[in-house]
Amino acid sequence: MASVSETVVDPAAATLRRRGRFSPGDAFLYGITLAAALSALVLLVLLARELIADAWPAVQEFGLGFVTSRTWDPSTDVYGAATFLFGTALTSFAALLLAAPLSIAIALFLTELAPRWLRGPVGTLVEMLAAVPSVVLGLWGILVMGPWIVEHVGPFLHRTLGWTPFFKTEPATGPSMLSAILILTIMMVPIISSICRELFLNVPRELREGALALGATRWEVVRGVIFPYARAGVAAALILGLGRAIGEAIAVTQVIGNNEAITWNLFDPGDTLASRIASLYVGATTKLQISSLVYLALILLAFSLVVNLLARVIINRVAARHQVSA
């Protein structure tokens, strides 16, 4: 895209400048569009500044110890984020573990296996999964999936995998970290699979056909040609999916149970950074508690910046490599 606009815009602009015909209308359009384009940068700076300013009382009170303290106690006005960091890490990585193979397999189906007429409709349906509002998914999570886990999936997991730390107890009634993990998986799948589909489609035809001509099966083409070619891009897709999971507040807060505990037992309720913020939307009382909530948001913002920039760096590197080889 960058290269397209480059060739389009620059010669024309250069010609205009040479002729000195940059009319007032041009200057005006240039001015307002530039101002609009700067809005993203301005918003990002404002976002960071406001969050830091309002988190400052909590930062001063608890310092960096905030992230290792397990206490979240409004009655004594002492707050710490450790349980939520643990919950965020556990739920989003577990969801990534489930979503990654599923999404990659879906992308493979859509690019390599499905008959051409089926690709469009199935691809659209998978992407529609991303269009389901998180509050609706959360509603479904508490009222349909939750009971289903307690009655069917939970007992089965406990019977077969009860020896692991994850399914130690009988499934409790109602909300659990397992529900949150499954909901997050559902949210990540359409994101990761649609990026992977683009990546797989971009694998040059000759490489694919070369491998097939050498007698490789479809799976061998995937393993030997497509995966190595798309590896970095897939990593970026997984990182972006992880970012989505880390930041999801509503659906998670609906199903996870908002409990302050560090436990590996997935049938227990837990909490994440985003979900804790959402759950306190009417309940934050003291100034320090609000400031601590903003501190949580600041940590989330930092995560999302890191995740997105990392993915961007990877994607840019891939794009650069492809331009050279193309």
Binding site: A2, V8, A37, A40, P133, W219, A249, I250, L305, N308
Partner: protein, 298 residues
């Protein structure tokens, strides 16, 4: 990894059978994965439809929620529907012009360096979690001043802006450079070229992108939690007071133990999901058509 493909061993028939079986298994797994995703969508939409249909009648659209949980069956979500309309409408009116103008700058004016830096800024903004945007608007303009529907709109607009900019940018890049050059060669200034040649060609794609972005933010709850949650029960069009909204209604009713209220939540979910899915599908179909026209069937 590629040496696996071509070993002498792989030419014996026993290995060929094994390779074929492995291939079948993988193909089966991939097909199953795609089926799972499609089934999930159908299950979610199906259970929303099944449970929500019972709540939907004329009262559901014209009446407001019952205050103390009496007579829930003949109450409705009129206030939430109006509220969502106001909040989302305002968000669109903030994000759409700015997003389109920004895309024009990025695609028509920006030097390459500037373009890539600013595109990253929009991408990063796009990656900021909705709840963080909600908290930002809360500390920025709500805290100490009170909630209001337009503040919720502002939060939604922040989420919408990068979506609109990105989609508009992609469409503008598809407008053939020959069109711009033809216009400039005829002596039209840049602004005229942009407004009368480039934008009209791209308008279909821009509308598609805007519709998808609208559908996406219409279902957002997190930005409204801290900005437009403490709403009254009456139907109101006032953007300077907190208004109810369909997502907030679902969020709060879902936590109620009363099955009648839960049914109301399902009904609201059905309304929301129908709007979002239909808008996305129509926009996609329309977008595909206008894109095809723009690229001449390529």
């Amino acid at each position: 990894m590629s040496d696996h493909v071509l070993t002498a061993k792989s030419l014996t028939s026993e290995h060929r059978t094994r390779r074929r079986i492995v291939n079948w298994v993988v193909e089966g797994v991939a097909t199953l994965a795609a089926l799972t995703a499609v089934a999930l969508l159908l299950i979610v939409v199906g259970s929303v439809a099944k449970r929500g249909l019972g709540a939907i009648n004329l009262d559901f659209f014209t009446k407001t929620p019952s205050l103390l949980g009496f007579d829930v069956a003949s109450s409705g979500i009129a206030n939430a529907i109006v509220g969502t309309f106001v909040i989302v409408g305002l968000a669109v009116s903030m994000a759409l012009p700015i997003g389109i103008l920004a895309a024009i700058y990025l695609n028509e004016f920006a030097p390459r360096r500037v373009q890539s830096v600013m595109t990253v800024a929009f991408d990063v903004l796009n990656g900021v979690p909705a709840i963080v945007v909600g908290i930002f608007v809360f500390v920025f303009i709500v805290s100490g001043h009170g909630q209001a529907a337009w503040k919720g709109s502002f939060a939604l607009a922040i989420l919408m802006l990068p979506l609109v900019t990105r989609s508009t940018q992609e469409v503008l890049a598809l407008v053939p450079s020959s069109m711009r050059e033809a216009s400039l060669a005829l002596g039209a200034p840049r602004w005229r070229t942009t407004l009368s040649v480039v934008l009209p060609m791209a308008v279909g794609g821009i509308i598609t992108g805007a519709t998808l972005a609208t559908a996406r933010v219409a279902g957002e709850t997190a930005p409204l939690l801290f900005t437009s949650a403490l709403a009254g029960n009456a139907v109101s069009w006032q953007p300077d007071e907190p208004l109810s909204s369909i997502p907030m209604f679902i969020f709060t009713s879902a936590e109620q133990a009363d099955p009648a209220l839960q049914e109301q939540a399902w009904g609201a979910a059905l309304v929301l999901i129908a709007f979002v899915l239909v808008a996305s599908m129509v926009a996609r179909a329309f977008g595909l058509r206008s894109r095809r026209r723009l690229t001449g069937g390529r």
